[in-house]
């Protein structure tokens, strides 16, 4: 079973809806170890994305993801704008000319996107960032796909890994981003970026396993 353009669109829209729904929660997490704007900023960006992507005429998945990327880069600000922009740009670059994706192709696109985010933000695993949700998610998806799992099973493993990675940020001491200024005091709080990244991976699972 392949991932269609409509499912790609519903992934982007679902991510926007999840951000809107969790706007206050993300901002609350950010106020504990950051500067209390993650939900607000991501929501502003995704609302701008939602206003654009519904009406892309004859676009392929690459154009959909690139439009999302450029909109986030120009509307979000903060660190999240360039980082989520880079993530969607990575998805867009890896899906050039594609109108549908196999499980392997989605896995390769997510791998490329996570690599691009790591290069832009220079973060490693256990730095208490988005990467702590995204990297395990990309790893789990790749491993499931290599084992020949169905799309549903692979996406479920991907989402579970992201959720576990997000929860695993709670005891970590931040080494990147604004939370790192707190040193030891950043431990005991869930990372807001890892949380929005889990929402992204969850939106992908929901969209790609739904009938459209």
């Amino acid at each position: 079973m392949a991932i269609t353009y409509d499912q790609g669109l519903s992934f982007v829209q679902g991510f926007g809806a999840a951000i809107a729904e969790n706007k206050a929660y993300l901002t609350q997490l950010d106020s504990e170890i950051g500067d209390a704007d993650h939900g607000t900023n991501m929501d502003r960006g995704m609302q701008a994305v939602l206003a654009k992507v519904g009406s892309l005429e004859g676009a392929d998945l690459s154009q959909l993801f690139k439009t999302t990327a450029m909109t986030l880069i120009s509307t979000v600000g903060g660190a999240s704008g360039p980082l989520y922009g880079t993530l969607f740009l990575g998805l867009g670059t890896a899906t050039t000319g594609k109108t549908e994706l196999s499980t392997e192709e989605w896995s390769q696109a997510l791998d490329a996107a996570v690599q691009a985010v790591r290069a832009r933000g220079k973060a490693e695993l256990r730095d208490k960032t988005m990467i702590d949700a995204l990297q395990p998610a990309a790893d789990a998806l790749r491993e499931s796909a290599q084992d020949g799992a169905t799309l549903e099973v692979a996406l479920a493993a991907c989402e579970r890994a992201a959720e576990q990675g997000m929860q695993a940020t709670i005891p970590l001491v931040a080494r990147k981003g604004r939370a790192s200024y707190l040193g030891e005091r950043s431990a005991g709080h869930q990372d807001p970026g890892a949380t929005s990244s889990w929402l992204l991976v969850r939106a992908a699972r929901q969209a790609f396993t739904a009938d459209t």
Partner: protein
């Protein structure tokens, strides 16, 4: 939340409309993307200075645009970095053919957005150099953090480098000077209260009636240590000692002493802090050669202050004294 605003979404836009209504002799404002440029931009043959960052730190940076200081400022949303397209458009608008210096405060978001903008500007054949200000001694500078934050020294660097650029120093020389100012400036701040980001609607953190936060940043991010409230003299020493020991400032050094309000602390208290600072520095043989006292790099309505010391050399002192004409700083004109 009690604030003198209309709609939360319009805070930055309406502030910029107010700036242009008040200071159209000094600056022009471009909307969507938002940036402030000096009225006579671009100045041909002059190195242009562009800075920017989240809003909520007024007068920094928009209030420092004008003759002898910045050519452009890019205000982001409150406490949110400006976006690359915004920085790129501002860079293009002030480029006078002699290159553009980006003065960037060391925050992950600011660095990422300015880096993307510099890449885009270079693709448009504009020569861009970036200098990162990281003067906050409250943050451990190590491989395991995002590094020291850029705070009070930013204001001093913008003034001093702006004067050099006004005298037609090259991009390379202005960048070098900016790095020298950063290397000789150290800051530390404290908070008596939190602040409320308009879009968040409630205070960023809670601080009890008998508590204070030492080592606070300028975005309401908690500092490193929460302590029992102390007197102005004690607080001044808590801030000044780590600053002096960090560089270190030595007997015989001449400094610019900058006592800054976080927004909610009045001048009467800043002068009480300045009094203690002057005594402390006198005690360790450091001479205050120039001073700046007031709200220049603020954190919305947060009560508290920061202290910045900049070790001066003759060139920096001369450039500090040079004329400046901006909404936020004005002398010699």
């Amino acid at each position: 939340m009690k604030k003198l605003i209309n709609r939360v979404e319009d805070v930055v836009k309406e502030e910029l409309e107010g700036i242009v209504a008040a200071h159209s002799d000094l600056v022009r404002v471009h909307f969507a993307p938002n940036y402030v440029v000096r009225a006579d931009a671009p100045v041909s043959g002059k190195t242009a200075l562009v800075s920017g960052g989240g809003s909520g730190h007024e007068p920094m940076h928009g209030g420092f645009v004008g003759m002898g200081m910045l050519d452009a400022a890019c205000p982001g949303e409150v406490f949110t970095s400006p976006t690359p397209d915004q920085i790129l458009e501002a860079t293009k608008a002030v480029s006078g053919g002699a290159g553009v210096l980006h003065i960037v405060k060391n925050y992950t978001g600011d660095i990422l957005n300015f880096e993307m903008a510099a890449d885009l500007a270079k693709a448009d054949d504009i020569e861009v150099e970036a200098v990162v200000i990281n003067d906050d001694v409250a943050v451990q500078d190590s491989l395991y953090t995002a590094g020291r934050r850029g705070v009070g020294t930013t204001v001093l660097a913008e003034k001093i480098c702006g004067a050099a650029a006004e005298a037609h120093a090259s991009l390379k020389d202005v960048a070098e000077l900016c790095r020298r100012v950063n290397a000789n400036g150290r800051s530390m701040g404290m908070a008596l209260t939190s602040c409320t980001v308009p879009a968040a609607g409630k205070p960023t953190f809670d601080l009890g009636e008998q508590e204070m936060e030492i080592g606070i940043g300028i975005h309401g991010e908690p500092g490193r240590e929460r302590r029992a409230l102390a007197t102005a003299d004690e607080v001044t020493e808590m801030l000044t000692r780590p600053i002096v020991e960090d560089l270190p400032f030595k007997r015989g050094d001449k400094v610019l002493a900058f006592v800054n309000s976080m927004g909610g602390t009045p001048l009467i208290e800043l002068y009480i802090v300045y009094r203690a600072l002057a005594r402390y520095l006198d005690g360790v043989g450091v001479k205050i050669e120039r001073r700046l006292i007031g709200p220049y790099i603020t954190s919305l309505e947060m009560a508290g202050c920061s202290i910045t010391l900049l070790r001066l050399d003759d060139e920096m002192t001369r450039l500090w004294d040079a004329p400046v004409n901006t909404p936020g700083l004005r002398w010699g004109v």
